[in-house]
Symmetry: C2
Subunit: 159 residues, 2 copies
DNA sequence: TTCGATCACTTCGCACGCGATCTAATATAC
DNA sequence: GTATATTAGATCGCGTGCGAAGTGATCGAA
């Protein structure tokens, strides 16, 4: 039978920072954001705004909730973010005519044109980080699976 | 030779949300935080505060900059966070005697005791997500490598 | 048809994250 | 020994994230 001290040692181990999966996720996410920032700043975009623009280039015009589904962001984050994109002149926000509850987001000419300026962003990034494309693809697939599992998990799965 | 249209199509592809590595990182990180939140809330902790406590349980007493090195966070984030942990009664902040520029962070009795309450957090989390430990370990190793590459990358590597 | 759900979004409050800047203490140059 | 540079934290401003609560529009059951 394990002594109380041994039992504590096991628990201790599980709480070590270098044993956590959560921390490298948190850290890598922030490091990536820092890497994008200098490329996006000249365009007036923050990193979350860039993600939303990626979605809009695929889906616009679409509702706030549609953007939220894809970005996994709630409307309380998106509303102010979209207002900033509107002030920047990249998107328009308009209440739907059929259903006045929904706000349709559409791209302005400037918003569409921005896509050209962003085209080089992913390449530039890859060039700056010496991480092999194969590993990047494998990592992305692992993360996609983890995300699916996390969304299945119990708890607040709001969005 | 590729036509302008074909060239655009390639660029288009690189900007698809489901082709980005950055997005699953960003999304997974936030989903993980959401998963921890209900476990940490009863203890009065936010997720970043939990990360800092993990570091302190290993390293305390230590300086603010030491915490920052490990968490990859700057003092402008840590100072208010540590003040909140101080208000919660988990840590003490005191200027060093040898060098009055450094602020030493030490754990209170409550801060040490909190470790016992957190011992079950990693296990509970694993139990809630049906993600195999082998995959989790592989994912963590991939992320650790990515983090190393990101820290080597040019740009603002402040911390 | 009308009145209570439900829905889509907004607003509010609080805690990050981080670039930029400030302050006080220490190190270094001369 | 004084002047300058560097360092460790703190402060400020802004943009997220997100729980909770609010508002107005639509849906559904009685």
């Amino acid at each position: 039978m394990k002594s109380a001290t041994e039992h504590m040692a096991v628990k201790d181990d599980l709480l070590r920072l270098d044993r956590q999966l959560c921390f490298p996720l948190y850290a890598a996410s922030r490091l990536i954001t820092r890497l994008y920032q200098p490329m996006l700043e000249p365009l007036g975009l923050t990193y979350p705004q860039y993600i939303v623009m990626l979605i809009l280039w695929e889906d616009a015009p679409c509702s706030v909730s549609r953007v939220g589904e894809r970005a996994l962001l709630n409307s309380n984050t998106l509303t102010p973010l979209l207002k900033r994109l509107e002030h920047l002149g990249y998107v328009r926000r308009a209440r739907g005519t059929a259903d006045e509850r929904v706000v349709q987001i559409s791209l302005t000419a400037a918003g569409n044109a921005l896509k050209i300026d962003c085209a080089c962003v992913p390449e530039t990034l890859l060039a700056n980080v010496s991480y092999s494309p194969e590993k990047a693809i494998a990592l992305k697939e692992s993360l996609d699976e983890l995300i699916r599992k996390l969304q299945e998990a119990p708890g607040r799965n709001s969005t």
